[in-house]
Symmetry: C2
Subunit: 285 residues, 2 copies
Amino acid sequence: MKCKKCGRKAIANLKQYKIALCECCYPAFYESLVKRSIKRHGIIKRNEKVLAAVSGGKDSVVMVSVLKNLDYNVEMLYIDLGIRNYSKNCEKIVKELSEKIDVSLNVVKLSDYGFRIDDVELKKVCSACGTAKRYLMNKFARENKFDVVATGHTSEDIVSFAIKNIVGGNIEWIGKLKPRIEGFDVKIVTKARPLFERMEKENMLYVLSLNLPFTIEKCPNTPVNDWKEIVYEIESKKTGFNQNFVRGLVRIGEKRGAETKYCKICGEVTSSDVCAFCKLVGRYS
Amino acid sequence: MKCKKCGRKAIANLKQYKIALCECCYPAFYESLVKRSIKRHGIIKRNEKVLAAVSGGKDSVVMVSVLKNLDYNVEMLYIDLGIRNYSKNCEKIVKELSEKIDVSLNVVKLSDYGFRIDDVELKKVCSACGTAKRYLMNKFARENKFDVVATGHTSEDIVSFAIKNIVGGNIEWIGKLKPRIEGFDVKIVTKARPLFERMEKENMLYVLSLNLPFTIEKCPNTPVNDWKEIVYEIESKKTGFNQNFVRGLVRIGEKRGAETKYCKICGEVTSSDVCAFCKLVGRYS
């Protein structure tokens, strides 16, 4: 299989886009997809100062690298959560990345607030970690005059989270699964998810193509995400499931103009001049 | 395995309810589940005159039988859609049911409007059939002074429809996936789905236990529902998925009182007096 752009050996066959690409041509193609998402959904504005929350995993590494390559005004934030060796290993990776792509790195330590995630009992650890990250990202961004906090959430993250929360009855979360959530109350900074239409395997190809530093180490506290496994399986049966699902989520809450009209022929309620049933009668009788 | 109520041989082991039941005790248990749904979600009111749309398949047969046994004021509607032998076979079953459970049967013929579903080209047949059924059910109910049209939709129907429509971007449909949709404009009759928390296998046990007439013949036009297959698979991995999902859907659109408060300790935005982060600091530092 050859690269459609330059004829070299392809590393990726992107069925959804009907294109095979080599490792030289893939990154620019990937970046064009993110650029289109950002523009179409107004995820980040050109004049905004962006704080990219980076964990050292492939997805956040991709996110900040792409924003840099698309010429956004971006800096990185690494939060040292105090998780055994994992936090220190990830910090090393993020420092290496900062030098490689020439993006300033800011580091915040949870231990400055008197505790580490390792102090939290296992049952509460993921919830506490989420609380700490959201709090510290927002506070750091506001105090340092960033307009937006960007995170590396992928379509799989968002879809699995959505299904898990519908099933759990936590419906208030669904409305937050948008690519951009405007800040409010001067205290809450805008959040942006520029990779919300991208998939993890696309991100993996990007870091490998550009030889970017990233960690494959998983957080030792993270349990297996059953919902993500289910989402991968659905995607394998229905190509495009994740992307279509996140695009659907964007539209939740959009108001449609649904004026009540009456069918000219039969008088039943309809959204156009002639109702769907009378159209059938007209066509087939 | 023995029936928990009477000690006879159990035919059903209902893991979700931690109970095994025989075919004599199962129907009453099943009916109590539907009764609870109807009450909890206000699906049908005691004084309402109910038109039960019955196709002859197990789910609609269960729906009307349960409503009758729960003493609702119910009649049946069968719509002869004009689908090869299928429509006539189903009508025979529904007539047999009507006599067996002593519920009046009304029959409407699509051919009275000048065409049959068999006249529609295959590509448009399911959409045309849906349009015709919705139109005729509503018109018949209104003209004959019914308060509610009840259908036999199960949790699998609703969940697969929801996922298919999120993925298809038809988000306006999601808000309609409720157990009761109030009528409006004097022309549109209220719709009710009393089995919205029930699963098909529970319905199958009910018709078999009571030896109710039903057809296993599938509509010759119905394509394989991939989304339903996916939903069955998720259920097999996550017991309760369907029920929890439909319960989540009910809550979509519910407004939560989300007053903006400020944390007494750090001044950040919170929903209670002390923010989640300061609670962590208090507990672990």
